[in-house]
């Protein structure tokens, strides 16, 4: 029960798990994460030779492989002498935390460790805690230090903060809501507060905050994943948002990947640009639209932001 029994020791510089997305489609997320952390004087130490976490897919085929994949990364973090692992993708947070829960069972732990050792990786004892980078920034810097770091407030920008599904869910794996440094699983607010600290306005009520983006079925069930992307954009539009802020590459890519389909089904008026929260924070910290890589996003928030006077 380590995941729910509270976080272990806190590292001055936790390990950083990039996962496949941040090294691939979500490059803008990684680059701006780094910019934000630098500006706030926070550091993370990248796990070299990490492997993909298996997200929610592998577990449907093999329990042991679905635990061994994330456990290898947690074991690498422990061999770097870190107790804390920070990930920026909701899917990664979920599968890393799930592996932590699974290795509490001695039988699973023994089987997984046998596989790890055989494969040339260190064994894992379940002693690393997992945190989302949003929680990490909130806990270590908080709204006050963020406010102090702002050079160009996001004034006049109304943002819909979209957390998505696996940021804190389920608490039995993430320990969310009952562990220091974790957000509320039903009503998360860390992103709201950080964006407000950056000078943005948050839509008064955003009921799509924690709904699923359908990303797990982005290719295998278009009807569902388009419908969820549309719900998020529809609700952001209804609430009066200029753009949607995301904290997960799966959510970002799924919504953007379906833009044409949503536009065709619901009309162009529900489309809002979508950006990683770190792109917006970086912008507030003084980066240009180009430096925050906002033109990388298919939904092109760069046009909106340039029109609002951001250089």
């Amino acid at each position: 029960m380590s995941a729910s029994a509270g976080r272990g020791p806190s590292d001055p510089v936790p390990a950083y798990y990039p996962g496949c997305s941040l090294d691939g489609l979500g490059k803008a997320y990684e680059v701006t994460c780094q910019q934000v952390l630098d500006r706030l004087g926070l550091s993370l130490d990248r796990i070299v030779d990490y492997n993909c976490c298996g997200a929610t897919e592998v577990k449907n085929l093999s329990e042991d492989v679905s635990v061994a994949l994330p456990a290898r990364n947690l074991a690498l973090a422990r061999s770097m002498d870190r107790h804390q692992v920070v990930a920026a993708c909701n899917g990664c947070v979920y599968s890393l935390a799930r592996a932590n829960d699974a290795v509490q069972g001695p039988a699973t732990r023994d089987r997984v460790n046998a596989m790890l050792t055989q494969g040339g990786a260190p064994a894992y004892d379940g002693s690393a805690s997992v945190q989302h980078v949003l929680e990490f920034i909130y806990q270590r810097a908080g709204p006050d230090r963020v406010r102090a770091a702002v050079r160009r407030p996001l004034a006049g920008l109304t943002v819909a903060p979209y957390y998505g599904c696996l940021y804190t869910r389920p608490k039995r794996y993430t320990g969310a809501g009952k562990t220091p440094g974790t957000d509320d699983p039903e009503h998360p607010h860390f992103l709201d507060e950080l964006l407000v600290a950056c000078g943005a306005k948050i839509v008064p009520e955003f009921s799509a905050k924690t709904i699923c983006c359908g990303g797990g079925h982005a290719l295998s069930d278009l009807e569902v994943s388009v419908a969820f992307s549309a719900s998020i954009l529809n609700e952001a539009t209804r609430a009066g948002a200029d753009l949607v802020a995301t904290i997960c590459p799966l959510g970002q890519i799924n919504i953007e990947n379906h833009l044409d389909r949503v536009r065709a089904a619901y009309g162009p008026e529900v489309i809002r640009p979508v950006a990683y929260f770190t792109q917006l924070m970086s912008l507030a910290f003084g980066a240009s639209v180009r430096e925050a890589r906002l033109a990388d996003n298919f939904s092109r928030p760069d046009s909106l932001l340039r029109a609002r006077g951001f250089p």
Binding site: G24, H217, D296
Partner: protein
């Protein structure tokens, strides 16, 4: 095949009753006719329980919190997607009714709201997936698109340790016999290429020293796939087929 008989309505029999000189003897205290199911099979729950993702099925006490918050049920509006009911059917072993949802169960998007909210600690999402794979492995449901994707995803990942997103996209499109219009592919490809995000094939990321791990994980994957095969019971001798 073990047969479980279970009456859904308990009839309180009043054998003889006379009210003001009128004989009203009969079956009272019930508004439904007694029904007896003879095709319930505990094998379903036994199999689900034996799987790593299905071990929490017995904790469910049918409160329905999972269905109430389920995004497939409420947000997407597919009312026949009802995790509470799927679990119920698996628990009592009503396989025939369960088969009616063979084309529905796989659509769970794994948002985990059900797991988050379950007051009894049922890993609903994993149990539902396990029930889905029971149907597939008994041949009651065809292999679902999600299953094909899971397989393509896992193979892609195990290959180099790091997912090759573009290759996965291509493989999966081929599996489904689907073709994204070239114009759309070019537009996406160009955007990814100019921002340095198109790393695929020989240029894809890889985990150093992954070779040994790949073998170990592939062997384990194959073993678990074999284990999960459900033995299909032989029909009894002389069975005329159909009830």
């Amino acid at each position: 095949m073990p047969i479980v008989e279970k009456s859904l309505v308990r009839v309180d029999r009043t054998e003889k009753l006379e009210l003001e000189g009128i004989d009203v003897s009969g079956d009272w205290n019930t508004f439904l006719r007694s029904r007896v199911w003879t095709d319930l099979d505990v094998k379903v729950a036994d199999w689900v329980r034996a799987q790593p993702g299905g071990d929490t099925i017995d904790r469910c006490w049918q409160c329905g919190t999972c269905t109430a918050g389920c995004c497939m049920h409420t947000d997407f509006g597919l009312t026949e997607f009802n995790p509470r009911y799927f679990i119920y059917l698996a628990q009592i072993g009503y396989e025939e009714e369960l088969r009616r949802y063979a084309h529905t169960i796989w659509r769970c998007v794994s948002c985990n709201k059900c797991v988050e909210r379950c007051p009894k600690g049922v890993k609903v999402e994993e149990v539902v997936h396990t029930i889905g794979s029971y149907l597939e492995r008994t041949g009651a449901a065809p292999e679902s698109p999600a299953d094909r994707f899971d397989r393509a995803y896992t193979e892609n990942l195990l290959n180099r340790g790091i997912l090759d997103e573009a290759a996965l996209f291509r493989t999966y499109e081929r599996l489904e016999g689907r073709k994204t219009p070239t114009r759309e592919l070019l537009r996406m490809g160009l955007a990814l290429f100019t921002s340095g995000r198109l790393r695929t094939g020989p240029f894809a990321h890889r985990t150093r020293g992954w070779g040994k791990m790949r073998e170990v994980l592939r062997a384990r994957l194959e073993e678990e796939t074999r284990q999960r095969r459900v033995p299909v019971p032989k029909p009894p001798v002389g069975a005329g087929g159909g009830r």
